[in-house]
Amino acid sequence: MDLTAWLAKASTDADARGLPALKPLLETLARSTQALRDADAEFSHPAADHTPADDAERSDDDQAAR
């Protein structure tokens, strides 16, 4: 889930549960989550070097055309 959408939903839920004090903490958490996601390549996320087959084929075609 996109973190902007996540934060909006979480903040709405916190309000609905009578926990408005949670909202600034959720904003801090969103920044931390974004930082963690941004570090996927650094942490060698298993899909980080995944090249989709159609991209690979396109690359082969490009090379053949040259």
Binding site: M1, L36, F43
Partner: protein
């Protein structure tokens, strides 16, 4: 008794030689608790009757020639997250306590070693904090300055040791909860290798990050406690030999040195210089990805804590301290994808620390970036910048909960502000014994019995 023995080892020698009786020793500790606990809030439950019965039993056993080892007849305390059969485990909360039918395995092991359990100590509620001012049993006050925190979460344990209310304590450490109060109070605390001491029968915070370990006044006392806490045949007569020859120590820069207050930086510099003068080699060593530590930690500890507390939050939300409740509620919003992302990062961080330790005896760094903060402080100032107190206090310890490496905090002097500072040594995974040997060398050669740098004998 006018003067209590200064260490567990000294007390054990007196008990073994029958120069002091376990009952006498236990009464002396109970007297200290009665005199100091009202203000310091170190203990939640004092088990006077049970402790005196255990001490009397130990006395009879020793008189009959059945001395079991250095813990026999020695008063120790347990953090009140640890189950003792028939005693409430309060977790320092207004949430109704659990009443366990069985002792936690670590308690069984300590009783087998002949220890006298004297009571259960105060903590940051459910171990979810570093300042121990969110507790249903009064804020734990630092004996060095009673307006200041004793750290957390195992603060009562550290204060009890410092004040002579017991000779050893059992703490828990999920992000630094043994090492932080040890540093704030000027005692010694060990987080062993992950899984080395059973966490069964202990109220969890994070199943992945929780460790249980000993706290005491010296490295030797910490080692004696550690051996008694392990499962299996007791290794009670073992004292860590000092590491032979020069040590090779890595100083993990830059992340762990980015945010230190002036006195912590100054005293660490003195320790480093003293170690080098003593013939040891210290070299700067980076730990890859260390700057990601807090993000990874947060995405593991929050959902795991929320998982345990979910049912309790549904029933007793208003019983939690507001700050603890909000942190637990935050964990209920973390997506499974991000939790698993952090768990994957954990394996990478573990390899990074393994690599940093290659060819070294230990990593060497401060245990806490600041002196004990004022009770109730939400932020502290470092280099003119305001920093959240909780994040700062966890900064130097939490990586080694993520990676599972053993780590020990030990005093390294007192700042000009009158507050203790502490050194942290981090060993190889599975190498807790070796870490204790390294720490024993550093303690003897560098720290000295009075806790001052250069006060050692070597």
């Amino acid at each position: 008794m006018t003067k209590l023995p200064g260490s567990l080892r000294e007390a054990a020698g007196l008990v073994e030689r029958r120069e002091i009786s376990p009952v006498e020793l236990t009464r002396a500790c109970l007297d200290r608790i009665a005199a100091g606990n009202g203000d310091l809030n170190a203990f939640i439950t004092v088990m006077e009757e049970r402790a005196l019965a255990l001490a009397a039993r130990a006395e009879r056993s020793i008189a009959a020639g059945k001395y079991r080892g250095p813990l026999h007849g020695i008063p120790i305390s347990l953090k009140d997250l640890v189950d003792v059969a028939g005693m409430p485990t309060t977790s320092a909360s207004r949430v109704p306590p659990r009443l366990p039918a069985h002792d936690a395995p670590v308690v069984t092991n300590l009783l087998r070693a002949g220890a006298v359990i004297i009571g259960k100590t105060n903590l940051h509620e459910f171990a979810f904090g570093t300042t121990s001012d969110e507790t249903a049993f009064g804020p734990v006050r630092n004996p060095h300055d009673r307006t200041r925190s004793a750290g957390g979460s195992s603060a009562g344990a550290a204060v009890a040791l410092l004040e002579g209310m017991c000779f050893g304590s059992v703490g828990t450490d999920t992000g630094g909860s043994i090492r932080i109060p040890a540093a704030a109070c000027g005692i010694t605390g060990l987080k062993p290798t992950l899984g080395e001491i059973s966490t069964d029968g202990v109220v969890p915070l994070s199943a992945t990050l929780d460790h249980i370990g000993p706290m005491a006044r010296t490295v030797e006392d910490t080692a004696l406690m550690f051996h008694a806490m392990l499962d299996g045949e007791p290794r009670l007569d073992r004292v860590p030999p000092e590491a032979a020859g020069p040590l090779w120590l890595g100083v993990p820069v830059p992340y762990f040195f980015d945010k230190l207050d002036d006195e912590t930086a100054r005293l660490f510099g003195e320790v480093r210089a003293a170690l080098e003068r003593a013939g040891h080699t210290l070299g700067d060593i980076p730990i890859a990805h260390a700057e990601r530590t807090a993000d990874v930690y947060l995405h593991i500890v929050l959902p795991e804590a929320a998982w345990y507390h979910g049912p309790l939050l549904e029933r007793y939300a208003d019983k939690y301290s507001p700050g603890v409740r909000l942190r637990l509620e935050m964990g209920r919003y973390i997506l499974a994808e991000d939790y698993l992302r952090a768990m994957h990062a954990r394996t990478v961080l573990r390899r990074a620390v393994d690599r940093a330790l290659e060819g070294l005896d230990a990593l060497c760094l401060p245990a806490l970036p600041i002196g004990a903060p004022p009770l109730g402080a939400a932020s502290v100032t470092i280099d003119g910048a305001s920093e959240p107190v909780r994040a700062v206090m966890l900064r130097l310890t939490q990586l080694f909960n993520i990676t599972g490496h053993p780590a020990i905090a030990m005093p390294c002097g007192t700042g000009r502000d009158g507050l203790p500072r502490a050194l942290q040594l981090v060993g190889h995974r599975g190498g807790t014994e070796r870490l204790l040997a390294v720490a024993a060398s550093v303690e003897r050669q560098i720290i000295g019995g009075d806790g001052s740098v250069g006060g050692g004998t070597g």
